[in-house]
Structures are given as structure tokens and as C-alpha cells.
Symmetry: C3
Subunit: 342 residues, 3 copies
């Protein structure tokens, strides 16, 4: 088992030790599960109280939080969660796949696999594609013709990346992600609905992550774009010609209809739906399950169905609970006026 | 690069040229991105205005639309979008897979593969199944025993088609579709919930398309049926014993509970949910995110939760914004009546 | 074709025959489709009426239901549906896969495959994992390092089970299930959102079933847990550190956010969403599409958005339809008071 002194860990995150810097740390844990050889972290007084009842080896804590820690050694840092994340990597380093192309992988003509890249068992890659240096392609993933995957990506298992898709560097596509699927476009023809060929592309920028079983359609004519650093959760649907800006957070089961533009830094809550051709302004926050059927201004907070400013939605929701009372009071007034009229 | 004259393209769609019919077209693009060698289309005056600022080679346009196109050649047709779709196929023909059975595909006893069909790498097919002529089965797809797939289908990559499923002709199943999965049926037994064996089938008619990662359960006793020409988007759930009629549109993330009947020509908006055992009349339109908990008449337009006629839903929604005002006016009336009573 | 006498089937389920016990039964069917050689069942008078118009060979029926069955033989049992389920297994026994490891399966070092287990074509299993006796792993499934799968499980096709996941006995994971995927955890860093390593596990207890294309994330630090006998439908999302108790029912497309605790015996309706860090009390029932943003007491019935006690939600919903009327009556009162004031 790997172990570190509190001082070694503090040095990693440029923290200041209060207490026995030579104490031995063997693992990491949340504040309510930390044992005598674990490092943990607290962000606020409420969490700090849970620590008092525990007995961690050491605790990452903000510079000014008052920690009555019963002998737990403190490491003071500006952002304890970020520091903890850094130390998590030390105790739980990711297991890289073996570099090289597995003998069962099928790689097409003209496809280049970068140095240090790993192509797993039963992967299929078409012609004229590129897998960047250090990228890892998990088992049963299919990559089509003319796809470009950047460096240090992690793809799969079981992903599908269709032709002409572009994926940047350090992108993570979790199990079952489908990129560049035909969008949902039909037009009434003589013989029922006629499929509109979907000839655009799917462009995924650097540092994007996409959760398990999520789907991103290719563009119909133009492209579907997911901006740099955007994080998408599981089972999300991104339709054709959507543009998602940089640094957005898209929580599980969100659905974004065709040609929507989501501004940079927006957050879409779980199961929210955005109707087609709308614009979500930069920095907007859309509540979970919200149904957005109109444009949302920059930095606005919207919720409910139909989605509206969160304060209005709350007021309408609270009011709906008082409808019974309204009807009673109204009837009472009517009765009194009737009485007077007699 | 393939290029055509405007006249050649007009002939393809039986259109009439206004302007230089010999002009050269090298590609297709949407109206706001069309360049000097692109063909585009406009359906109405609003789009036409966007063209004026562009500089397309040629534009498909309705017979009567007034197009001040700054030198763009017009091709007049009854339905510009449909004509455009036809021409898209010319510039972006689908790449068929190579016919034949890939050496890594595993095909069971008694299974017949039609002529011109393509069975991709690492496909597994059970016993006594049929793959129709010209159908293409993508990599990592699993087809079970006793499955019938019609002609000219496109399946996969990564699909699962379980035993006894029937798929018609010209069906497209996108990546990760699961057909014929056991339905969600349990009954309380002595030892907790007991699984009810799901012994019905999953029947997909001609010209159906099903989007990425969607699931269609097999019937419990009877069958689950998707009618001819129906189009289903990504991440849709169709439960056991559902019947969807012909020519329906089912948008992404819709959920249809067990034994629902959806009439022909219905449209279900994204993320809508239909509770079990209900009937949606033919030609009904269900709004996005609607929660349907009662039958919907033919040709009705329903929305909201619980779903009701769209006009009522709109009125209720608008009214909820006025609750604050209602409470204020009510209190004012009560105050005045109190005052009079003194 | 296998056939049984009514008496043989009655013996299987400890039922009492009324009528010709020697009658031949060749299959099973629902009450509205049963033919002259089929066994069916009815649970109540309403279904019984549908039988009268049919002509089943025999019918499972409760001890006291009055069945005017036109010659259909009755088998009286306490729970006809449960008895029917038992007989379904007789007519439609599940086809087990051939035991053994398919030559195309890839099995890592130190991995043990139990006796009678079946590992299908193109399955990949990492190092130091265990597949229990009699378990069946379907094609294209990937099982990572250090995974334990219990006995008599059915997994796949096309599932992904990531490292350190524990799966109990008799568990069924339908096509495309993803277990132990990284949870959705990020913290703002200097360079945008920084991924928080997800180092917890995913623990699935005995007799759990998980529907097609559903995803269960691994814990961030602690574990994600699904309790014994819980049944999860298709396209469900279970986030990191969720705990679901025993014997719960989670219907299709439900989303459960991080660190939620769902009490034993709870039922979550289709497309319902539970916000993070909440507690759903044991035996609670959450309506379809409900949006839960606060704790739910034990045995409570909640619905709507935001979810509240079902009766309140119904009242608010009914009231919202009367808002138009409220406004009209209010204006009328105001007019009358104005008139009096003159």
C-alpha cells in the first residue's frame, strides 16, 4: 500500500500544515467515513461538525475555518475540494490501457494510430481516420471512416463514432456514447415521410466529457458542435445542428432539440428539455425538468414548464397551492354581496 | 469533385429554371451558408430575405415566391424542401458497406443471408434467422435466433435484436438500438417481486426508423408493434404491448408505457410520456414534455401535465402567472367589504 | 409441441379444477386472445366478461370469482397472475446459452469462470474478475478488472461493467446496461471545470434487474448501491452515491441524482426525477414525471412538479383549470362594488 506523510501531501497542493506533519496517510475518504489513516476535506462549518465525530488522519480545510478536530492534522489551502481532487489522483491513479493495437482490432486503410495510443480488443476503425497520441479506445468501440480523435482521449467501451466526426484532445466518451448519428429530419413526401439526408458533421472540442449512452447527432447540413470543456452527463440527447458553447454543464437526461444554441458557461439541469431553434444565453441556468419553449437571456435562471424566470415559476407554483383557498374566499364574497343585494 | 449544371439538377426534380441554366453547382448548403457554387432552397419569404444577403449559385423555390435573389438562379418546384432532399442524395450518396459476410462475423445454423447483404465485423447472428437482400448489419450488432430482417435495411453499429423479432424492409436502426428486450413485468410473490416471463414478440414494419440508444420491448403475451413508416428519434422507450400506428413521429426521449395504442399519423413531442393502457387517437399531436394520463381523441392537440387540450393548457399556464394578482385583488375586495360592514 | 392436461397444470400451481380436468392445453394467451387450446387467467369481473366472448381451454381464476365461462375449464387458485407466471415458464422455458467460454471471448489473468457459466462470443473480461456458476454473459459484453458477478446471472448483450463492480446472484442486466461508469463530478479549477476522480464502487445486490440502456454510476468516494430484488426499467439514470433500498420499482427513464437515498419498497413512476441528496422514505410512491425537490416521507404518495402529496397536486392541477373562471368572477365582484360605490 502506498502511504504519504501529511507534509508530502501538503506540498503537493501548496498547503500549510497545522499539527503533526509527519503523520502517515494511507487513503482518502469523505468526511463521514474517514478513518485514522485517511485524508479528508471540509468546505464549511457544517461539514466540519461531522469531522469532530470522526477521527481522520488529516483534513484539507480553508485558511479561516475554525476546526475543532480532536487531533486531526489540518492542511490549510484556498480550495480544499480542488486540492482533494489532486490528491485523489495520487491514491487512485487511473489505470492506463496497454499501448498498442490489440490483435483483434480491425483498422482500415490509411488510418493512423498515434504513438502511445491504445486500441482495445474488438475495436473496429474505418479508413482514413486518425487516433491521436496517447488516446485509449476501449473494447467494442466502432470508429468510422474519416474520423479524427485528438490526443490523450478516452473512448469507450462500446462507443460509436460515425464518419467525419472530429474529437479534440483530452476528450472522454464514456460507455455507449453515439456521436455523429443521423439527425431526426423528415419531410412529407408522396409516399409518407421522406428522410432528409444528414450530411453535416459532429464536432467535439477539447476537454469535453460525454456520459454513458448519450447521443450527439451529426448536423443536417451544417455541424453539431460541443464547445471546449463542456461536460455532458448520461443519457443526454443533443440533436442535429445544436451548438453548445464552452464550459457548459449538461446534466443527465437533458434533451436539446435541433438548431438550439447554448451559450458558454450555461448549466442545464437534469431532464430539462430545450425546444428547437432557441437560444440559451451565456451563463444561463436552466432548472431540472424545465421545459424551455422560448429564448433565455444571458445569465438568467429559468425553471418550470413552460420555463420562465425562476422567481416567477416559484411564485406560480406556490400560488397554485392556494387555489382552493382562492375559490373559497371568492364564493364567500359572492355570498355576502348576494345577501346585501336582497 | 462532382458538379452539375442548374439545368441537370432542375431536371432531376422536374423544376423550371429562371436564369442561367448552365451555371455550375458543386455542392448544397443551407440558405445562410450557401456560397457561389452551392445550391440551396427557401420555403418562405422570411428565408428568402436571408438569401438576398448571400450569394448562392441556385435556389429551389416555390412557384409563386417573389425572390429578389441578386443573380441567384431560381429552380421553381412545388416542394423545394423535398426537391432539395432529392438533390442532397446526389451530392452526398450514402456509402454502402461492402456486400458479404465479414470473416469475423459469427452466423448460426440455418440462418440465411440474402444476396447483396453486408454483415460487418464482429457481428453475431443466432440460428434460423434471415437477413434480407441488400441489408447492411453494422459492427458489433447481435441478432438472436429466429429473427427476420427484411430487405435494404441498415442496422447498427452496436444494436441488439432479440429472438423472434420481425423487422420489415428499408428499416433503419441506428447505433445502440435494442429490440425485443424483456418488458418490465413483475408480480408480487412469496419472495418479493416475481418476474413475469415476457413471451411476446417485437414487430417493426417497413420503412420504420429508430434512433440511437432507443429501446423497444417485446410483448408480454401479445406483440409490441411499430407501424409502417413511423419514425422514432433517439433514447425513446417503447414498453411491452405498445402498438404504434403507421406514419407516426416520436421525438427524442419519449416514453410510452405498456399496452398504449398510438393511432396512425400521431406526433409525440420530445420527452413526452404516455401512461399505460391509454389510447392516443389517430393524428393526435402531443406536446413536448406532456404527461398523458388519459385517452386523447383523434386529431386532438394536447400538452402540459396532466396533458389536456393545448388551448386549456396554455390558459392554465398563463393564469398561473396571474395568481399573485388574483390574491391581491381578492384581499382588496375583502378589505372593502369589511369596511362597509363596520 | 408440448401439451399438458388441465389437471397437470392445476397440480403445478396447487389449484382446484372445475370442469373437464383431462382437457388438453397447448399454449398460453391473454384473455382477449385465448383460443380453444390456450390457458389464460382473469383477476377480476371485468376481465371475466372478456373471457365469455372468447373460448379458452382453461382459465386460472380466484376462488370466489363468478365465471360464466361457456365451457372453459376453471382452475381456482389464490393468485391467478402468479400461477399463470409459473405456467408461462413451462410453455416458454428460457433458452440457456451453451455453457463454456466461446473461443472468441477474451479472459484476463486471474479471472475465474464458474462451472456451468456461459461466456459468449466477443466478450471481453479483464483481470482478477469472477463470473459465478451458471451465469450467462452475452455477446459484446465488456467486464473490467476486479469485477465480481454472482451465480445464475444474465448479462448482456452489449453491457459494460467497469472495475471493482460487485453484482449479486440471479441478477439480470439487459442489453446495453452500463455499470460503474464515472459519476458526473467536477469542480471549478484554474483551467475550467476539473474532473473529480470517481473512486467508489457500484454494488448491485441479489435478484436485481436493470433494463436496456440504463446506466448506474460508480460512487465518487463511497459506493452506489442497488438493494436486493429492486427492479429497474429501461433508460434509467442512477447517479453516483445513490442508495436504492430493497424491493423498489424504478420505471423507465427515471433519473436519480447524486447521493439520493431511496427507501425499501419505493416505487418511482416513469420519467420521474429526484434531485440530489434527498431522501425518499420507505414505501413511498412517486408519480410518473414527478419532479422531487424535497425529502419524501415514508409511504407517502407524491406527484407533480415540484412534487407534493398527490392529493394536493391533483387539487392544484384541477384548480389551474378554473383560473379563467376565477378571474371572471373576481372582475364581476369588482364591478359590482364599483357600482355600489358610485
Amino acid at each position: 500500500m502506498t502511504a504519504y506523510t501529511v507534509q508530502q501531501l501538503a506540498d503537493l497542493v501548496a498547503g500549510t500544515v497545522e499539527g503533526d506533519a509527519s503523520r502517515r496517510v494511507e487513503g482518502v475518504a469523505s468526511v463521514d467515513r474517514a478513518g485514522p489513516t485517511d485524508l479528508t476535506f471540509v468546505m464549511n462549518q457544517r461539514n466540519a461538525r461531522r469531522l469532530r465525530q470522526g477521527a481522520a488522519a488529516a483534513c484539507l480545510v480553508t485558511p479561516d475555518l475554525d476546526l475543532d478536530a480532536n487531533g486531526t492534522v489540518c492542511i490549510r489551502v484556498a480550495n480544499p475540494e480542488l486540492a482533494f481532487t489532486r490528491i485523489l489522483d495520487v491514491f487512485h491513479p487511473e489505470q492506463p490501457s496497454d499501448p498498442g493495437i490489440h490483435p483483434t482490432a480491425i483498422v482500415g486503410r490509411g488510418t493512423r494510430i498515434g504513438s502511445g495510443a491504445s486500441v482495445g480488443p474488438y475495436v473496429t476503425i474505418g479508413d482514413n481516420s486518425v487516433i491521436g497520441e496517447g488516446s485509449q479506445i476501449g473494447p467494442h468501440t466502432h470508429i468510422d471512416d474519416d474520423v479524427v480523435i485528438g490526443q490523450d482521449c478516452r473512448v469507450g467501451p462500446g462507443c460509436t463514432i460515425l464518419h467525419d466526426t472530429r474529437v479534440g484532445d483530452r476528450v472522454r466518451l464514456y460507455a455507449g456514447v453515439r456521436l455523429g448519428v443521423d439527425g431526426f429530419g423528415y419531410t412529407p413526401g408522396a409516399d409518407g415521410l421522406t428522410r432528409i439526408p444528414q450530411v453535416g458533421r459532429c464536432l467535439i472540442d477539447d476537454d469535453v466529457e460525454i456520459g454513458a449512452n448519450s447521443t450527439v447527432d451529426r448536423g443536417a447540413l451544417g455541424d453539431t458542435v460541443v464547445g471546449r470543456g463542456t461536460k455532458i452527463d448520461n443519457l443526454v440527447h443533443v440533436a442535429h445542428n445544436v451548438t453548445i458553447g464552452e464550459g457548459c454543464i449538461v446534466v443527465a437526461q437533458v434533451g436539446i432539440a435541433g438548431s438550439v444554441e447554448v451559450g458558454a458557461g450555461s448549466q442545464l439541469g437534469g431532464q430539462a428539455g430545450i425546444a428547437g431553434h432557441l437560444t440559451i444565453g451565456p451563463g444561463a441556468r436552466i432548472g431540472a425538468q424545465a421545459g424551455v419553449i422560448g429564448d433565455v437571456p444571458a445569465a438568467a435562471v429559468y425553471s418550470g414548464y413552460p420555463a420562465r424566470p425562476h422567481r416567477e415559476a416559484l411564485r406560480a407554483s406556490a400560488g397554485s397551492l392556494r387555489l382552493h383557498e382562492v375559490l373559497r374566499r371568492l364564493s364567500e364574497l359572492e355570498r355576502r354581496l348576494e345577501g346585501e343585494g336582497e
